[in-house]
Symmetry: D3
Subunit: 131 residues, 6 copies
């Protein structure tokens, strides 16, 4: 049902397979998710995205769970069903509790509501908010 | 430049003024932001939104800063200029460091990129992500 | 500040000027709005859009004001600042009261909120909603 | 296929069950839709959303059908499949005719088109549209 | 699973059937796609959209394949699953190679990323970019 | 008016300045645009984005102008005002004619319209479009 074929690890060329191996080792899993199988149609892009994921999502000034919550929020507004599912699962794997999930949903809901209101009323930015 | 008049505290009717007072007291400020002045055209909506903001944004299972980061992420994707400005300022007021801001931007950028890729390739959701 | 030059009625070529004349006559105004001046860079597109506006926005099974309310709602979610301004003005010109505007905003806010919730929870469509 | 479990009325806790009962009584139905079952993971949010739905969607300065049409328009642009299905069904239940549905679609299509054009040409807002 | 019934060529009224015939003849196919069957609920809109598709998508200053690539890009960001599928198929039918598809995806991904960054940082437009 | 300070080449630290130099040399200009000055608050992100821009936007299976057209289309739908301005300018610099711009706008407008229609009618994907 994808608009590109999903490339399995058996079908992947050298570049793609190397990335697959790295993903499986890093995540300690036996196979890669459909996102990577789809992306393997573009081995260079697969490499670039995987590299960026590792660099961006590792704990830093923000911890790993906070980053996943932000990821779910962005994916919700862009309405990427795949990403909402996979990053909600990732957030749970990183320890998101049911209470935290409920509060994440509440903030997304509130922000979406006030975004729509501010855009509909075209509220001018207050001077003190400008850098 | 708004598409509704901004109602000042002097112009506000009883219901709106009471909400304005509550906002100013809670936030220890002398005036309310333009968002509230615009919303004061609909006193009932003003009340409901302010009540929801207080209930949703208070620290709970997620701390106050994490909630602001999520708010900025949602506002970015909905491209609400007003909300990006006001909630970036709020995040800074709640202690967001330059490093945290940089990582917030990096996660938003990465998620927007992979959202677009997953949507463009219409990747089917893996079985293990389904509840 | 547009990304295309605005074409005035003096500068417009034959096709564009004819559309400008029709707009001014139909709306009983002395000049056309910036949207049409920008669109005049593409006279064919100008013609097509103006023709579609007239056909679509005339009262039919839905009255003219209801159509403007829907237009404002769509423009809000697409965050078209120009369109929110011009169609809010158009709705007022067609009789939208302050109470109706407040309720329009409330429905847009509620829908944006529940849209975000349903997308974030990826709620499956109930059988009875499927045609 | 949701990213949260659906809570049935048998599984719901006290708060959620009370909201479920209210929904079923108000709407004279035997069960609640999936949206509410998903939202029941967050009983407070369930309460708040149901309360806001009742307050916002009751006939006022705008009639109930007009509000549903606006809801469908917002849900379309946010591309909430669940919401488009459920609110199209709600609009039909409130009397939307096939002709009205066709005109709703035509306005949504036109507005989406001109929104894209105005955003792509970055048309500056005319002075007369500014409040 | 649509929110409107799909009208087959046997069920179509005179206006819709004439458009169906034109589509089938122009595209040398035996049946029309679901999009047209859904749109046939609004024969006037069906006529208008088909006419606009023919006028807009024919080769001109931009060739037919370039137009399809743009169509896929727009459909991705609007997250229209139907449109991504149908226009990716159309692009392939017009000669899009796997390499071109990979580069299309890479540009969509990059643009989505920098769009999010510019919106999140609310970067002011440089003077030299203003017409 | 940005939500982050703009870092000039005089203010930039070592990493950011090196990227600035590379941009200025590559593009044969005396200064970098505001986007890069804003991004310089996150030197690592600045490096990553500039590297990705160079890799993605160089002519390949798609020529440089086609890539800019796709960039403008994506930026329009994400409604990134900065990006629409800068990439429309870039497309002109790479040879986009007024006729090509007009056709780009027409395709964006048509796609936005049919995206909205397909999403509003929730048209199911035809079997032949599934890979």
């Amino acid at each position: 049902m994808a608009s590109v074929p999903l490339i399995t690890k058996e079908q992947a060329g050298e570049t793609a397979r190397a990335v697959f191996e790295d993903i499986m080792q890093t995540r300690k899993v036996d196979d890669v998710n459909n996102f990577w199988k789809a992306l393997a149609n573009s081995p260079e892009l697969l490499q670039q995205v995987w590299s960026q994921v590792q660099q961006t999502m590792r704990p830093g000034a923000l911890d790993a769970l906070t980053k996943e919550l932000i990821y779910v929020a962005v994916s919700t507004v862009n309405n990427c069903a795949y990403c909402v599912h996979s990053h909600t699962a990732a957030a749970k794997a990183k320890g998101m509790t049911a209470e935290q999930h409920a509060e994440l949903l509440a903030v997304i809901a509130l922000a979406s509501q006030t975004n729509a209101l501010a855009n509909s009323m075209q509220v001018p930015v207050d001077e003190q908010f400008k850098v």
